[in-house]
């Protein structure tokens, strides 16, 4: 499928952001973020509500002007060349942006017309996109009768009509049930593969970022605190850990001596009869550990592998879990509202 092709060969980056700031009065919603997104990449913005994710999306999609800083999307400056940027992006906003007095097909058709597509092209693309999101038989129903998941899928279809180079998804699965969520994530993965589409997605679901993204930027209080592939972010911590329980302290000490000789073992810690082994690749390390135990005739009672999650990464960089971070945000909002009421 060569329809959505990356033509802008000048730069290999679909998004280039340098020191982007958005300030509302005294409050800095985004405090100078910088990052680059390669063409064909799924790039995730992970952070709690109020971290500045949506504000960043609004700036990159030209809905609001940045206070300072520079950003290019699909090769065009987001402030000076707004219309060029707009014609090359597809956007699915956090809140639905469909006209609910129109049918699904009408919403798509109007969108395609505004983007200057001719009748033939419109008909073909709308048909293809409706099939992709499995809404062909719901096309002539008014949006007010759609479910939340259907609306989301239709919005994704709409965002792709104009064959964008970059698709922005702002919390695309918020408020949806687990099944629909997974469904939508798989659409996104599929799109990315089929069309080599660059995707910029914001989320506060850790599993989502892990499942979907090639690279993740962790954002907190308007600042990017870490940015890398989910694997590297996770292995940048202590790595995977293997917990080995042995019969007694002396056999634990004995085994630990042999384990230290195995390559790729980062660290071994002992607590009485329990060993904590930190490794990069637990599968191959496990085999070596088992062989050592067998050769030295040391009895192993129990083995557990713990893979670090992005949650661990989030805690590592921000000092708190993402849900705690959200609770803190809510407190701040409430305090703000209270001070305004006075």
């Amino acid at each position: 499928m060569a329809r959505i092709r990356n033509v802008a060969k000048k730069s290999r980056y679909a998004i280039e952001v340098s020191n982007l700031v958005k300030q509302y009065g005294d409050f800095k919603a985004v405090k100078g973020v910088s990052f680059k997104v390669k063409e064909g990449e799924i790039f995730g913005f992970l952070g709690p509500n109020g971290a500045g994710k949506t504000t960043t999306v609004h700036m990159l999609t030209t809905i609001i002007p940045p206070t300072s800083g520079v950003a290019k999307v699909a090769g065009h400056n987001i402030y000076e060349r707004r219309e060029d940027v707009r014609s090359k992006i597809g956007v699915v906003f956090q809140d639905p942006s469909l006209d609910d007095k129109l049918t699904g097909a009408e919403n798509l058709n109007f969108h395609a017309m505004i983007y200057g597509m001719d009748r033939e092209n419109r008909r073909a693309m709308i048909k293809e996109m409706l099939e992709m999101v499995e809404l062909t038989d719901k096309a002539d129903i008014l949006i007010e009768n759609y479910s939340g998941g259907m609306k989301r899928r239709l919005e994704i279809a709409r965002g792709l009509l104009n064959k964008p180079k970059v698709l922005f998804l702002d919390e695309p699965t918020i408020g949806l049930d687990a099944q629909t969520r997974r469904h939508i994530l798989d659409y996104i993965l599929n799109l990315n593969k089929r069309y080599k589409l660059t995707v910029f997605i914001t989320t506060h679901y850790i599993e989502e970022a892990d499942y979907l993204c090639d690279r993740v930027a962790i954002i907190d209080h308007g600042t990017i605190v870490a940015c890398d592939t989910p694997e590297k972010l996770k292995s940048g911590l202590n790595g995977d850990s293997i917990t080995i329980t042995l019969a007694d302290k002396s056999s634990a000490s004995a085994l630990s001596k042999y384990i230290r000789k195995i390559k790729k073992i980062r660290d071994v810690k002992q607590n009485e009869a329990v060993l904590y082994v930190y490794v990069n690749d637990p599968a191959s390390a496990l085999a070596s550990i088992m062989r050592a135990a067998y050769e030295e005739r040391i009895e192993v009672l129990n083995i557990e592998i713990h893979k670090p999650s992005l949650e661990d990464v989030f805690i590592h960089y921000t000092g708190k879990g993402i849900r705690e971070a959200e609770a803190e945000q809510n407190d701040r909002m409430r305090a703000m509202v209270r001070s305004r009421m006075r």
Binding site: S97, K101, H111
Partner: protein, 255 residues
Amino acid sequence: MNRDIAAVYVLWLRAMKRFVRSPSQIIGSVAMPVLFLLFLGAGFSSIKFPGIPAGISYITFLVPGIIGMSMLFAASFSGISLLWDRQFGFLKEVMVAPVSRTSILFGRVLGGLTTAIIQSTILIVISLFIGFRIPNVFALVITLGFMFLIGLIFISLGLIIASFMKDMQGFGLILNLLIFPLFFLSGAIYPITILPASVRYITMVNPLTYGVDGIRGALIGVSAFPIYIDFIVLSIVACIMLALGTYAFSKTKNV
């Protein structure tokens, strides 16, 4: 350029579809001027106003005024659609499209204008059933021209207010505060010539006065000013309001 024209057309077509799909809105918006026409007509038709020439009944005098009122209400309240669209997110979809703000504004204005003219035309048809007579097609064309200009002015007014407002209650409150004085001081329900001089000056700066006067001149041949004066004044005001509307819309918040 092509896309801009498409955007104007799409936003107009959207307004039409929404209009046709909400019959309660059509009935409600036509009912109010009809009630004004019936109740004012019933109450005042026995009074002899000095400014109304002999041979013209009060109800005949009143119909052009109520046409003006219908345009005033329908046009200025169409600005609320901007607030709806902001609240329900559709505004973002439009604002992120690669088209100029001006074409988005013109699409909205054209949509509001068409619905207001359709509503007022229904009112004209209803007035035929209570004995109103239109002299000829030419008079009707001139009437439509004045309806068009009144519509432009007050749609712009509605959009200007909506551009700076956040909530719908506030919008309704401010608009009512503005449009009721505009209606009562426009000569819609009595001739402005009977008003004391000081109040008459206020009516002279009210654009609706010239709209009602022009429609009345076209339909029943009674007007305080020559029709071309009405036309020129309204055209100038319409241009100014449209320019202000464009400016206000360019300053409005997208989210």
